[in-house]
């Protein structure tokens, strides 16, 4: 199985991946898309364009291809080289650049591979990268280890909703204790914030609707009660229907910035610094 790494001249993150492969003795072919790899990338792209990820700034490099799997970005490529598909979900392609690596989600994959996940984080941090770690509360034990080892420069927790809606919105069963443990741990990181997306859900009557301001306020209350403080950075985000997988949600009208003000007012009862995303 021959491995190809598409890079771009001067891309420092590509250099870190190359060093990783050389350290492990992994044979690969490098194709610099700005130099003699241009044609090879064009052919690869033509054959695989539906699977190539584009971020806000264009295609995320390096692009790794082993004939079967495509992985992009520093974090996701290292994770795949390290552990194959085991870390899928825990590490995905990120959007941050320069010295930041994101796409690291402690709740996003199989907790059985926690040690390998932490190993990847250690490697990235050892290469002077700053890591932004995300969680929605699940797998608090992994978050605890991230904290104990000082691996994250920034942590963002998506508090999905009040506990009684948590499982419904995520579409899976959750352990309330696990969520609360995560919430309590978050403020101990040096740079952190909480977020809640005003998500759509299907209620008991089978009706599709957005979370109400009261429900978002209950999520804020969950944070206040689990941490014992009203003073945390807390961002209320609007849902993007066009990015929804479920066609029922895709058909929804987005919430306007003015409607979000009611959510902020409600949340501020419990978290005084609540604000809405611009």
């Amino acid at each position: 199985m021959s491995m190809t790494l598409f890079t771009s001249t001067g891309c420092l993150r590509c250099k870190i991946v190359k060093r990783f492969m050389e350290e492990r003795g992994l044979a690969y072919e490098e194709k610099d898309i700005k130099a003699d790899g241009r044609e090879a990338f064009q052919k690869f792209y033509t054959a695989n364009r539906k699977s190539v990820y584009r971020g806000p700034e264009g295609i995320e490099f390096p692009v790794f291809f082993d004939g079967v799997e495509i992985r992009q970005g520093l974090g996701a490529v290292i994770a795949y080289l390290h552990s194959g598909k085991k870390l899928d979900g825990l590490v995905s392609v990120g959007t941050l650049h320069k010295e930041w690596v994101d796409g690291l989600h402690v709740s996003g994959g199989d907790p059985a591979h926690a040690q390998e996940f932490l190993s990847v984080l250690r490697y990235l941090k050892g290469n002077n990268m700053k890591l932004r770690v995300d969680t929605n509360g699940k797998n608090s034990h992994i978050l605890r280890q991230v904290f104990d080892e000082g691996l994250a420069s920034q942590v963002v927790m998506d508090v999905v909703g009040p506990i009684n809606l948590y499982g419904l919105i995520l579409g899976e069963t959750v352990d309330a204790h696990d969520i609360k443990e995560s919430i309590a741990l978050i403020p101990r990181f040096s740079e952190y914030r909480f977020e809640t997306t005003v998500a759509p859900l299907i209620d008991q009557l089978g009706k599709v609707r957005y979370m109400t301001p009261r429900e978002v306020a209950e999520a804020a209350r969950l944070i206040e009660e689990s941490t014992g403080s009203k003073k945390h950075p807390y961002l209320i985000l609007s849902f993007r229907p066009e990015k929804a997988a479920d066609p029922l949600f895709k058909a929804l009208m987005p919430i306007t910035p003015q409607e979000l003000l009611a959510y902020r007012t409600a949340a501020r009862e419990y978290l005084v610094f609540a604000d809405i995303e611009k």
């Binding site: 003073k231 003015q258 003000l261 009611a262 902020r264 007012t265 005084v272 610094f273 611009k278």
Partner: protein, 478 residues
């Protein structure tokens, strides 16, 4: 300006037949919200009530604030916006805009209100026949502060201006932040450079750039431009002005975009050159339907020092680059940009440019159109409030007698004239004319009365002639 050391305060001129008679309310420096009648009788003082500004509401209610945030940490942040009845009871209050924790101060929610607010029912914030502001219900537009960083403007922390609309119950239902629209203001490259370097940096709270300094905000209300199909003048749209930038603009309430604007530069078109620079202005608003001049913009064009531009002798770095040593009150047609009416030192009877600075307030100030076509002008820095007719005759003048202890000024930020029937608690006051005293013969006790003890004729002298080119500097052309 040339103020004598000794001069009368209170009402000094009053022609009841030509005035639009009523009560006048203003914030008396470090005293409270003061309500006076046309002879200057202080019919009510809401003692200790702050106001930035104070406004009278029907029923003898007043709006203002209970206090200001410690200026070591905030700049011009009123803690709340309140409505108080005739007996001093707070009947409405808003303060839940931002949770503030200042060192050594009680943590609390604050409105961070400054410079203006508007209660539903009346678009412009002063008396218009048939458009009374609501007193027991309705929404309120409030001009507030927010601290933000916007690298597109400057690397420094900014004190940004935000307009919010709150319901009677204190729910925020609309919010507009002026720095979001930085690309719509049309700053020149020199302006952007100095703005980035010095966004009007003030020392409060560790330092913040009061870059735009919005000091006036009101709705357009129904108007002839919108009736004729010009969407920019939708009645819900909000007109505001930035004192530091010399900008007067209209924001579309639905989209947040700037749909009409004057400034920041006044040399970019023939119409603006004819208008001349508007500098450090206050109280720009649309005269509402129901008042003479409806549909025109009325503004107190202070002069003084304001604007971001290129360095010049008056402005070594380019901040506050436009200068002028007199004020103008302008009534402008917003479509043709022609000046329809004005009150400048010339109309006030001063010879320009020598005496121009006798009508001059470099900061604060306001202008209110009255139902009979008169205009109430607050020439704020000297505490002078005047009423002039459409033909510029001075028919009422009042000088505030209240100098502050912290600040040795008898300044009046803004004053408003309201009808007598807005205060049902009082009987209609007696209106006593005050003739204008001839200052040439007016003497204080102890000073010699007019008249010479010896008058000597010198033969051969020529009579005093006037004529052009008599003085060291030329007279301003009409």
């Amino acid at each position: 300006m040339t103020y004598p050391s000794v001069y009368p305060t209170g009402v000094t001129i009053y022609n009841p037949a030509k005035c639009w008679n009523g009560y006048t309310i203003f914030q008396a420096n470090e005293l409270g919200a003061l309500l006076i009648d046309m002879n200057g009788r202080e019919v009510q003082l809401w003692k200790g009530l702050h106001g930035f500004p104070n406004k009278l509401l029907p029923g003898g209610h007043v709006m203002g604030s209970l206090g200001q945030r410690n200026t070591a940490y905030g700049m011009q942040d009123q803690i709340d916006l309140v409505q108080v009845d005739w007996e001093g009871k707070v009947v409405w209050k808003f303060n839940r805009y931002e949770y503030i924790e200042d060192p050594g101060e009680t943590p609390q929610w604050m409105a961070r209100q400054h410079h203006d607010y508007q209660r539903e029912g009346n678009p412009v914030g002063y008396y218009v026949p048939g458009m009374d502001p609501l007193v027991d219900r309705g929404n309120t537009l409030i001009l507030v502060h927010k601290n933000i960083k916007n690298p597109g403007i400057s690397e420094k922390m900014l004190l940004d201006d935000t307009i919010i609309e709150v319901t009677w119950d204190g729910e925020i239902v609309w919010e507009w932040t002026c720095s979001d629209h930085i690309n719509e203001y049309g700053f020149s490259e020199p302006a952007k450079n100095i703005l980035a370097r010095d966004p009007n940096f003030r020392p409060a709270g560790g330092g913040m750039g009061d870059w735009m300094h919005i000091n006036s905000m009101s709705a357009l209300g129904p108007n002839k431009w919108y009736d004729a199909g010009d969407q920019r003048f939708h009645p819900d749209n909000i007109i505001w002005d930035g004192r530091e930038t010399n900008i007067i603009a209209i924001t579309d309430k639905k989209t947040g975009e700037i749909v009409w604007k004057l400034g920041p530069d006044y040399d970019t078109s023939r119409e603006l050159k004819r208008m001349g620079w508007i500098i450090g202005q206050h109280h720009a608003h649309l005269i509402p339907r129901g008042l003479p001049g409806e549909g025109n913009i009325l503004v107190f064009d202070n002069g003084g020092w304001a604007g971001y531009g290129s360095p010049n002798p008056g402005s070594p770095t380019g901040i506050k680059s436009a200068l002028r040593d007199y004020s103008r009150v302008l009534e402008i047609d917003p479509v043709t940009l022609k000046i329809i009416w004005q009150y400048t030192p010339a109309e006030a009877g001063y010879v320009m440019p020598y005496d121009s600075n006798r009508f001059y307030s470099p900061f604060i100030s306001s202008a209110q159109r009255l139902p009979n076509g008169n205009t109430l002008i607050t020439e704020g820095s000297g505490g002078r409030i005047i009423e002039v007719t459409a033909r510029h005759e001075l028919v009422w003048e009042y000088i505030s007698p209240y100098w502050g202890q912290h600040l040795n000024l008898n300044m009046v930020y803004r004053s408003y004239r309201a009808p007598y029937n807005w205060v049902p608690q009082l009987d209609r006051p007696e209106e006593v004319p005050i003739e204008r005293i001839d200052v040439k013969t007016f003497r204080v006790p102890g000073a010699a009365l007019p008249g010479r003890m010896k008058e000597t004729v010198v033969k051969g002298t020529l009579p005093y002639a006037g004529g052009d080119n008599a003085l060291c500097v030329g007279q301003t052309e009409e």
